[in-house]
Symmetry: C3
Subunit: 210 residues, 3 copies
């Protein structure tokens, strides 16, 4: 197991826990909890692999699915404890976002995608699982509503592309971009930074009853 694989599987585990917890809150059954955990952990990567035209890792490498299913099962039985770890889960989620975005961007590049597309697809790899989780549980995706989340991912993807233009590649570039995402996300959580909303940004929208 390479360090990159270990890091990747940590991301899978964290996202599986987030998906399974959302499913528990919605009172889904055991299968539903496992399935939403699977989609949250692996949906972003499946989308990435479909776009770049390779067999999705979620079906091609059993370790990814095994970690996702095991964590979702554990969350099903242990979710009150998972809830008590909410703060830890948020930090781990920031790590998962950082990792998935960076590896997604790098894989898109390696598949011959231009810089712009690689950044967007890398970000989609990071946020795609959470989008799937929220759509399956009947919520408007939280990533679209508040907080600095996708924007942190995009910043890291852009940094990775920028470093590449400066001929800085390899593990150092990946680590630097992942660190940027992680730090921006964690600081945004602590300081409760949010992206502007139409009301705040405008001050001249119609009344809320609209």
């Amino acid at each position: 197991m390479t360090p990159l694989l270990v890091a990747d599987l940590i991301g899978v585990a964290v996202f599986a826990a987030s998906g399974a917890t959302a499913a528990v809150v919605k009172r889904l059954d055991l299968f539903g909890v496992v399935f939403v955990g699977f989609v949250a952990a692996l949906g972003g990567g499946i989308l990435r692999d479909l776009v770049i035209g390779v067999p999705p890792l979620a079906f091609a490498d059993w370790r990814y699915a095994a970690v996702a299913v095991a964590v979702a099962l554990a969350t099903f039985w242990l979710h009150p404890q998972v809830n008590r770890l909410r703060r830890t889960v948020l930090v781990l989620d920031a790590a998962g976002l950082a990792l998935f975005t960076v590896t997604g961007t790098a894989k898109a590049f390696a598949a011959g995608m231009p810089a712009f597309g690689a950044c967007v697809l890398g970000m989609l790899t990071g946020i795609g699982g959470g989008l799937g989780r929220d759509l399956l549980t009947g919520e408007i995706p939280v990533v679209l509503r508040r907080e600095i989340y996708a924007v942190a991912a995009l910043l890291g993807a852009v940094l990775l592309v920028g470093l590449r233009w400066l001929h800085v590649t390899g593990p150092a570039a990946l680590a630097g971009a992942a660190a940027l995402i992680f730090v921006v996300r964690v600081v945004a959580l602590q300081r409760r930074w949010s992206a502007p909303t139409p009301t705040a940004g405008l001050g001249r929208t119609r009344p809320a009853s609209r």
Copy 2:
């Protein structure tokens, strides 16, 4: 027309009826009823074909789409009669689930996917149409909430893979796996078996008002 194609088209017809009925209940218009019927009947197979990288059958073979559209149109005009056949539809739906899962697993295998991935993708082929139907009609997918449905599909997919390890392949293996799915699903319907939910499985969750 081979027996497999006939069986496949029966599955398409049953799932189209289930999708169209869900759309009628939501008061969608004629196009909406046909479209949801199309997605319910063919969405699982489209997902499977995108993952294994072949042109989706729904667009490549007109007979699949023709059956789905014809049944959805019939359901639009005849839906009170379809509702009266609710019991029959549930049994036919179990047959469709069995068939789609088994052919999906076999096709994933034939495309070179490993055993684990083939089982998951086979199950997704069986439940994917229903997932699409529920997302389009604004529901949390019923397959995630209650009843033994996806689990029956998974059991059959695993049996098919197990028989393959024992060098049992061909129509007999397909029929055996499909029979297992069908029987488990029908018995689960009759005995009202459900997968455990977080409340039942834990007995120490927070109150429902949460």
Copy 3:
């Protein structure tokens, strides 16, 4: 820039405005508005490209994404003005539907898809972005509920295929099919044509309280 590209980018701009407006109405944040605009503008084409097995244009050609993002940003800050242009936006949306459907059908054909599949996929290219927009904002897709929209697209796709059978291809055929879609859609808007709904079509459904 070829005329076709200009026309394509006009379609992207109009659909991005429609997606961003829907996101503003739902009080999504700045990222959410841009993301829903992106999906509304480019989701249909991404689906088409995944099905026919080519790299999605949304990631491969930066001009598409740039137009979508710029228009979504403009809508975020200027949306009351966009709302006042509602009538204009509806007409431009009809133009976008016409264009995306026709180019989608033609690309599906060029990729070797049979006539039936090309029509369905062309229509999906035209309506796919709106489907994605509505799913992300928690709505049952409007295209499934009322008005002549997808049916207009389908008529144009069928005309394009029919002209091909008569050996009429090239810009004239594309323009004729696009004109048909545009005219049917605009006339349907003006005369408030709707597809039949189960109630109207049957007159013998159960009461609405069902």
